[in-house]
């Protein structure tokens, strides 16, 4: 892997720090008057999700991390691992629960998502911004409430619970924003 100097640290660059793959979030050049120049850097540890703050002497280098995002199709879970397939090579990858994290709440079989591979192994999984999922359980809606607003919890096929308007009923498919976990609309009929 190539080495990157502090002046090449841009948001999104993946580098190795203390043996862990990290993604640069922010890089600020600071130079005390007539003194040593530093770069104050915030980066996310891609294994733990934790944000690290580190200061480097300007010109110091870090090794690039072999981290790549791939669009993959979610296949299934056996309860321990989640399986994904590269639609181009048909290569399958198994991700453990740590890598999938909360994303399992938005994974429907055959949906596509972003799988981040580190040295060829899934490090994290990011769902699409919007997914369409079926409501498997919610209280019956009250007639005439369409204009009034108000909402109720609904359990989706993946186990996620989202707040939906009162007029939405069990068995319907809804569109959800996975970044906020919020209901967007009823799914378009296809």
């Amino acid at each position: 892997m190539a080495n990157f100097s502090t002046n090449e640290f841009r948001p999104g660059l993946k580098v190795m720090l203390d043996g862990e793959p990290c993604s640069i979030l922010e890089n600020e050049f600071v130079k005390p008057g007539k003194g040593q120049a530093f770069n104050r850097v915030r980066m996310r540890n891609l294994s733990t999700g934790r944000v690290w703050e580190r200061t480097f002497k300007s010109g110091e280098t870090l090794e690039g991390a072999d981290v790549m995002d791939h669009t993959m199709e979610y296949l299934y879970t056996d309860g321990e691992f989640y399986y994904f397939m590269d639609p181009v090579t048909f290569e399958q990858h198994q991700a453990d629960k740590k890598a999938v994290g909360e994303t399992h709440l938005w994974l429907k079989e055959q949906d596509t998502c972003e799988v981040t591979l580190y040295n060829g192994t899934p490090l994290s999984v990011t769902p699409q911004n919007f997914v369409e999922l079926e409501i498997v359980e919610t209280d019956p809606g009250l007639k005439g409430d369409t204009a009034q607003g108000g909402n109720k919890p609904a359990r989706l096929s993946t186990g996620a619970v989202v707040k939906v308007p009162l007029f939405v009923t069990q068995g319907e498919v809804i569109k959800v924003d996975t970044r906020s976990g919020e209901y967007v609309s009823r799914a378009s009929k296809s």
Binding site: N7, E28, G35
Partner: protein, 310 residues
């Protein structure tokens, strides 16, 4: 970003305000060479050099040496508002090419000059926050609980380590003081405007040394607003022999850091030998002043065309 015309007007108005300010005080504007035959020796400053008419020239990192030579020739109070260059400095508050306002006042000490810097800043920035004054020692004491004049490398290192993981092996006090500035002091100065004065002697640069409450300090100051260093001033060193020793010390440090030697400016040394009048001088980042006073979020907005688009 603000509309281009508004931005350019802000910059132009600030230039006029500066010129009016010094005209009222009978300080003369002079143009200093942009490309000098010599460069600064300071290991933390990289001059850009190039060949022209078969000789090496250096884009000046500040007009300091030129202005001091004029002072020694009897110029009287002078200022320069011009472009300077520093290699390897780029960021939110840094641009390799920027505008520096630098001036010298005969018979002033650094406290007199702090008064004048404050007035100058007010003439450009009517609603500048109230500026307080704190010694370097007191500031480090308040923010980090250590004595910046006497703390050992081990104490500085332990303090830095409490703030952040710091895997550095440097063994000079200056390095750790700089690091503590970057990770401890500067963040603590957000929302505050202050002069920091009387620096540890290792950070004297071109300031004279003197006594303060029984301790030897460098008579240097900085104006810091919202963590941004706006100005750096000295009660100037006028002793040619001491100046020569500092040039040599800089070159020893350069050698240690694996940097090329920089030949000392013999014309400046000659000027000091001939006699630099007693004076204080300050360099102020003009673009930073325009940016801060206009509410710009980065220094590049205070340049007509930023470095990226030059």
């Amino acid at each position: 970003m603000t509309d281009t015309r508004q931005r350019l007007e802000r910059i132009a108005r600030a230039r006029s305000a500066v010129r009016d300010f010094f005209a009222r005080r009978n300080v003369l504007e002079v143009g200093a060479p942009v490309a000098g035959a010599r460069a600064v020796t300071d290991p933390q400053l990289e001059s850009i050099c190039f060949r022209v008419v078969n000789e090496t020239r250096y884009l000046q990192t500040s007009p300091e040496f030129a202005l001091k030579r004029l002072l020694a020739q009897g110029s009287g109070d002078i200022y320069s508002l011009g472009t300077v260059f520093r290699d390897d400095e780029q960021g939110r508050w840094h641009s390799p090419e920027f505008t520096m306002l630098e001036w010298y006042r005969l018979g002033f000490d650094h406290h007199d000059l702090m008064d004048e810097v404050e007035s100058l800043v007010q003439s450009v920035w009517a609603r500048v926050p109230a500026v307080d004054r704190v010694s370097h020692q007191k500031l480090y004491q308040e923010v980090l609980g250590l004595d910046s004049l006497s703390a050992t490398v081990e104490q500085l290192k332990a303090c830095a380590q409490r703030l952040q993981d710091c895997p550095f092996t440097e063994t000079s006090r200056v390095f750790w003081l700089d690091l503590l500035w970057a990770i401890g002091i500067e963040p603590a100065l957000q929302g505050r405007a202050c002069f920091v004065y009387d620096f540890p002697i290792e950070q004297a640069a071109l300031a004279r040394l003197g006594a303060s409450k029984g301790q030897t300090v460098a008579h240097r100051f900085e104006l810091v607003i919202n963590g941004v260093e706006l100005a750096n001033g000295f009660w100037e060193l006028t002793d040619a022999d001491e100046q020569q020793r500092r040039f040599e010390a800089d070159n020893l440090n350069r050698e240690r850091l694996g940097q090329p030697r920089v030949e000392p400016d013999e014309r400046l040394l000659q000027a000091l030998h001939n006699g630099l009048p007693d004076c204080a001088g300050v360099a102020l980042g003009f673009d930073r002043l325009v940016a801060l006073s206009s509410g710009f979020q980065q220094v590049s907005d205070a340049l007509a065309l930023s470095w990226d688009r030059a």
